[in-house]
Symmetry: C2
Subunit: 418 residues, 2 copies
């Protein structure tokens, strides 16, 4: 059993915590199938694994005894007879998810079966540094536990997303451009001291958003997904065979600095014509300013007057919705460039689904149509014929739901993926 209270000073490392769960490798495989489908019968498990019926029966009994699984009503089997459905035992303990953004904190508390028990969001500046932000996150979570009558439940795992490059193994961010004071700060260690007996795990925001999208696509069978976040920067989260793919140095998905125009403007990274500098939020705002200067857009000019001389991508989106041609053209150009890069990635990676998220994605169908057009024009037909390219369906929730799933993955599945 996992201790249900946090003893001050008691520091349990991740390995011994997993040993406390005492899940065998075969049991972990069954838990993986069950959590993906929410609830399954033993017959379903026979169909979804290579295990024999007797092995499945043994594992299910063992997981029931350990209170990790619970019965969840009945399903029909092939012969029309009713069979017991098994699901993760929500009462076993809690999961925390935190999505720390540049200017916001989103928190969620769920049970082990990922039923949301409490949630909270507030504006906060990540630039305030790790002590202030992480202490505040812990205070808010303690408050949520109290307000929702959850104080005596064990907190099994805590997933955290941060807006910067993460060294996943060391549990810290490395040279983050928009997180002053966070470089090399031991986030996992710090939070594990605040939450002893809890497995803490961090990843970057785009990766957890990709994971959130993956776990939300119930009924689909796409284990390979590319999630593109378009905001001030442009980045990708990659799901490979149902898991976050981080690459060999942890920087996979850093597509913002792919060259799309050799003669383009110089990017802060030192190269010319990076995708980010030509298609990201700042590029969109800059082009809008130029359109106003050149007298091409009375609508943008109107917005510029309202906003005291500063246009952002948000105004361009609003102007496009009012039918402003310059704004529509600016958004199309951005979509075309992103689509051309995606076309390359589709030929290489052959994903089953592409999901677009991030602030700029709120531009809607003008952006989506031009991205799709560029991908279909330049990718192989076999790779695009069944390829949905769509906006995130969970939009602002992708991060925090991904954080919960990251926590659950690490808690239950480490033994099979390791």
């Amino acid at each position: 059993m996992i201790a249900s209270v946090q003893l001050p000073g008691e520091r349990v490392n991740q390995e011994s915590l997993q040993r406390k769960m005492e899940i065998s490798c075969a049991e972990a495989v069954l838990l993986d199938r069950i959590r993906r489908h929410h609830a399954l019968t033993k017959n379903d498990l026979v169909a979804l694994t290579d295990f024999s019926r007797s092995k499945i029966a043994g594992c299910v009994n063992s997981l029931l005894e350990k209170n990790i699984l619970t019965k969840d009503g009945y399903g029909n089997n092939n012969c029309g007879r009713r069979s017991v459905l098994y699901t993760l035992n929500g009462n076993r303990g809690l999961l925390f998810g935190a999505d720390i953004g540049a200017t916001s904190i989103d928190l969620i508390i769920t049970d082990l079966n990922r039923q949301v028990l409490a949630r909270y969001s507030e504006p906060a500046l990540v630039a305030d540094g790790p002590h202030k932000i992480l202490d505040h996150v812990s205070e808010l979570l303690t408050e949520l536990l109290k307000n929702h009558g959850l104080v005596n439940k064990p907190i099994l795992a805590f997933g955290v997303g941060v807006p910067g490059p993460v060294n996943f193994k060391q549990g810290m961010v490395v040279s983050p451009p928009i997180m002053p004071g966070w470089d090399q700060f031991p986030i996992v260690e710090y939070l594990e001291e605040k939450w002893p007996n809890t497995l803490v795990i961090i990843d970057n925001d785009v990766n957890i958003m990709a994971l959130g999208e993956f776990t939300k696509q119930e009924g689909h069978d796409n284990k390979n997904i590319i999630f593109i976040k378009i905001g001030t920067g442009i980045g990708a989260g990659i799901i490979s065979n149902g898991e976050i793919y981080r690459g060999s140095s942890g920087c996979a998905g850093d597509i913002g600095h792919i060259c799309v125009d050799k003669n383009g403007p110089i990017c802060p990274c030192g190269n010319r014509g990076c995708l980010e500098v030509l298609a990201g939020g700042a590029a969109i705002a800059e082009r809008a300013m130029r359109a106003v200067r050149e007298g091409k857009s009375p609508i943008l000019k109107k917005y510029l007057e309202k906003t005291n001389g500063v246009l952002t991508a948000k105004e361009v989106g609003a102007a496009a919705k009012e039918g402003d041609e310059s704004s529509i053209e600016i958004i199309r150009e951005s979509g075309r460039l992103i689509g051309e890069v995606l076309a390359v990635l589709v030929n290489f990676y052959n994903p089953g689904r592409i999901v677009i998220g991030g602030g700029v994605s709120k531009f809607g169908n003008i952006l989506l149509a031009s991205i799709r057009q560029a991908v279909i024009k330049r990718s192989l037909p076999l790779a695009t014929k069944d390829l949905p390219i769509a906006f995130s369906s969970i939009v602002d929730d992708a991060g925090v739901l991904g954080a919960i799933n990251l926590a659950l993955d690490q808690l239950l599945l480490r033994q099979i993926s390791d």
Copy 2:
């Protein structure tokens, strides 16, 4: 026990064959670690997994009883005491590997521990069709078994590489451009009838070459590799977390049709400026012909006279070695274009290693230097600082060794990757 003779008409499906191996999920994890490191002690296994010492001892005993593992001398543990090394039991049975190329067949027979027992190569035209080629492959293997005194050994698994796009699940090639008569032919079913009790598995040539490279990199720890084959066509094999990554429709790695010049020549695929049409073997040959026509290369002119008016990439390579400037420039241009595509893939995929193979790779350092230069110029420093980009060290053997490893993977590891 797996039957040691092939009974005519006895058709054993893959699933029951794996059940005969009777490997538990935890045992499969240990076998995976042991085959990657060749031989390990129980202490090594404790360090390389999350399993307890007693669980490892139990699994090792069970695998010894099943004759899947065997003792292989002694290693030193931390205290300087000697510990038993465990390795795969070669005597357990045989593995077949076949690399069917456009104009050649390469065959290899190993024991379960991948020790080569027999090998054979001969020219053969894949265009002769599946019946002729596959019957011939089986005859050659039967001959090899006889000549090497291997007739009574069980043949556990048979991996086959083919030069065309493969539907991996169905075990057949789909619309292969250079394999007339093979489209939708049930290769796996056909070979399983010839070799009952043997697990047969096929994949495309680039994927098995990538796997061959991955398993040959002993001592390295790169689980994410991109293998680029440069020949008449250009394709990539992707290793993700130690396994072949095939993508959602099985066409991952098809990088030959990535656009590198929007205004470039039209490719047979219908698009303009594909990598293959600008940097592959045919493009190199065409540029060489142009250099001769324009009077720029007396050395190539000399080769043209020798070859009765037809230049191929091979002559360009030879002329470059003699110092012909036009040929050197042609090779450099090809390397630069390939490197620019690789730079995009490095930013996205962050591989731990890039390996270059295929006929055109025999051009040597001129090609390699220009590929490297383009990758380093355009990729993120974090992704390239520890990134080796090198020619295949096993060159012509990558395919056939990959086929053996594909067979072994499927035989032992299906339960953990499924």
